[in-house]
Every structure is written in C-alpha cells, then in structure tokens.
C-alpha cells in the first residue's frame, strides 16, 4: 500500500524528510514506526520509574533512549525536549526535571498518535 506522507503545520515530525533520508525506503520507515509504537510503553515506563526512584543517571539514560527513537522521524521538538531532559536530569531541580519530563511525554505521545494515524490507522 502506498502511503502519501504530508507534513502539515500541526505535524510533530517531518515524515517526508525522514523518508528522503532513508533513501525513500517506505518499508523501512514503516518498520521503524512499528518498532517505535511497540517499544514506546517500555521507554515511558523506564522514564517514569527512574523519576520515581529519583535516579538522575537513569532518567538521563531514559531520555537519551527516547531521543534516539524520535530522531528517525525528524521529530525536532521531541528530540530537543529529550536532549534537554537528558542534560537537566543530571543537574536540574526535581521540579524542573518533572516539568521537562511531562512535556517530553506529551510530545512523544503526539508523535505516537501521528505515526499510528499515518501507518496503522484503524
């Protein structure tokens, strides 16, 4: 099935750009989207449990992992938020870290919704 990718003002990622970076390999981008959607609950669980445990390195590692997973879709906002949390986790206040994590989680869930809507609509 051919999927027409559009990047609108409301998009939280740039799927046409991501596709171009992958040499127009639609199957690969779709497979990456599937892996992202499948593994996101684990990544979110890693982040929230690290926050609850109050372990800065684990929070930073979880943010790093999320950063890596959103980059394939050129999700710049999520990428920047993950990178900010990755650094903030090691030096910021608890309140700042929690606020940063909340924003990141909202953004990755937006990305998840957009990928599901594009590749796996019900």
């Amino acid at each position: 099935m051919a999927i027409v990718l559009e990047s609108t003002n409301h998009s939280c990622c740039n799927l046409p750009g991501a596709l171009a970076r992958l040499g127009d390999d639609q199957d690969l981008l779709c497979e990456l989207a599937r892996l992202f959607v499948d593994t996101l609950p684990d990544r979110i669980r890693d982040l929230t449990s690290s926050m609850e445990a109050g372990c800065p390195q684990a929070v930073s590692d979880a943010a790093h992992s999320l950063k890596g997973s959103v980059r394939y879709f050129l999700a710049e906002k999520a990428y920047d938020m993950a990178q900010a949390l990755e650094l903030l986790a090691l030096s910021g206040t608890k309140a700042d870290i929690e606020s940063s994590a909340e924003k990141l989680l909202r953004e990755v869930q937006r990305l998840e919704a957009e990928l599901v809507n594009t590749y796996f609509p019900k």
Binding site: L32, L35, H64, G68, S69, Y72
Partner: protein, 223 residues
C-alpha cells in the same frame, strides 16, 4: 568500495531495536557486508569469540557494558578487529576515552545514513594496509628518530601527533599506553621548551621501559 569480493562480517551492537534495524539496513547498501546484530556487549563478546567478525560497529551508550567497556573487553581477550563507534550528542567525553582506548573511528548517529558505510570501508582499508605492513614491521631491527626543532612550543603538538602515529604503526605500543606515552612526552617536551633542558622523568622512563623491546634495545633521548 569494498576491499575484495570476499564477504566482510560486521557485528552491530546496540540495545535499541530501531537502531539495529536502521544500521543493518544502511549497511546492506554494500552487498559485500554480512551483518549480524546483537543487543548488548555480552552477546558481542560471545560472537567475537566464535565468529571473529571483521569489524564491530557499536553504540557507545548502552546499559550493562558500554561501548568503551566493550572495546576494553575485546582487547583484553586478544581481539584486534577494528571497532567503529556510533555516537550521539552528549557522549563526547566517552568518545575521546574510547578513541584513546583503541576505537578505530566513530560516526555521529545523525549521519549514519550518509557516513557509516564510508567510514567502515576506510577503517577496513587502513586495517588491511597495516596487515600488509606488519611483516615488514616485524623484521625491523633499528628505528631511529631524530628531530632538530626550533625552541617553539607550537611545534610540540605536531611532533607528538607524528610520534603517536609512529608508535602505533610500529606496534611499539597501542591504544591507551601509546596515548599515555604521548601525553607524558608532550609534558616533558613542553617543559623543555621553557627550561631549555630535556629531562626524562620517572613516569616517562617507566612507560618507555614497559614497552616490548627486544633484548639489547634501548631508548636514547638527546636534548
């Protein structure tokens, strides 16, 4: 460009399934590459032991055993295959440590699609070149390096860089020891440009004495 038509076995190590998928796909651009992907350093060690891959491509930041520790473990088990690191923003310090420990090269993850295959081929080419040179290096009996330098502190880093290449190329010392020798030499030479006297201190003498020289060999430093 691959070195020959013989297939080249590449081991990819990354804890992220997405990264393993992407890297494997990128590497398939070169039909000569045969790719195996594993999820952590322990699996990588097992694979290296049983299959001896030509190149290891590893993530730097992984839970359990990170890329730096993987390099150290491979070396301590006598594996000499080149290791290419995949790096991301925020890992700069670890990258420097890994390069000092003997990593062959690195590719930022943001450039994997455009740079990974080229980097692997460049590393393979350098490895093959060293392999061809090695029989000659093994027969080398005397190597004398004489540098007549102006008393210019700016020349020290260039000399050190050149010496590091020579030390590694002649297999006098590798990885961390070569880097340590050069760091100490840099300090000694920088002091010499200020004081006018070259003093081989205890630390440098100790490092040089630990190098695997033939009986009767000696290091001579002339100031």
């Amino acid at each position: 460009m691959a070195l020959s038509t013989k297939s080249i076995e590449i081991l990819v190590v990354d804890d992220s399934a997405m990264e393993r998928l992407l890297v494997s796909q990128v590497l398939r651009q070169d039909p000569v590459f045969r790719i195996t992907a594993v999820t952590d350093g322990w699996e990588a060690m097992d694979f290296a032991r049983s299959r001896r891959p030509d190149v290891v491509v590893t993530d730097l930041r992984m839970p359990g055993m990170n890329g730096l520790q993987l390099i150290e473990n491979l070396q301590s088990c006598g594996h000499t295959m080149p290791v290419v690191l995949m790096t991301s923003y925020g890992s700069e310090k670890l990258v420097v440590q890994a390069l000092k420990a003997g990593a062959a090269s690195y590719v930022p993850k943001l450039n994997l699609e455009s740079s990974l295959v080229k980097t692997i081929n460049r590393v393979l080419s350098m490895t093959a070149q060293r392999r061809f040179q090695q029989p000659m290096v093994d027969e080398l009996t005397i190597s004398e390096w004489c540098f007549a330098l102006e008393n210019d502190p700016a020349s020290v880093p260039h000399l050190i860089s050149h010496l590091l290449d020579l030390v590694v190329q002649l297999n006098v010392a590798g990885g961390a020891r070569a880097a340590k020798i050069c760091r100490t030499l840099k300090r000694v030479l920088s002091d010499a440009t200020v004081t006018g006297t070259l003093e081989i201190d205890g630390e440098l003498r100790g490092l040089l004495n630990c190098m695997p020289l033939e009986p009767g060999s000696e290091f001579v430093a002339v100031s």
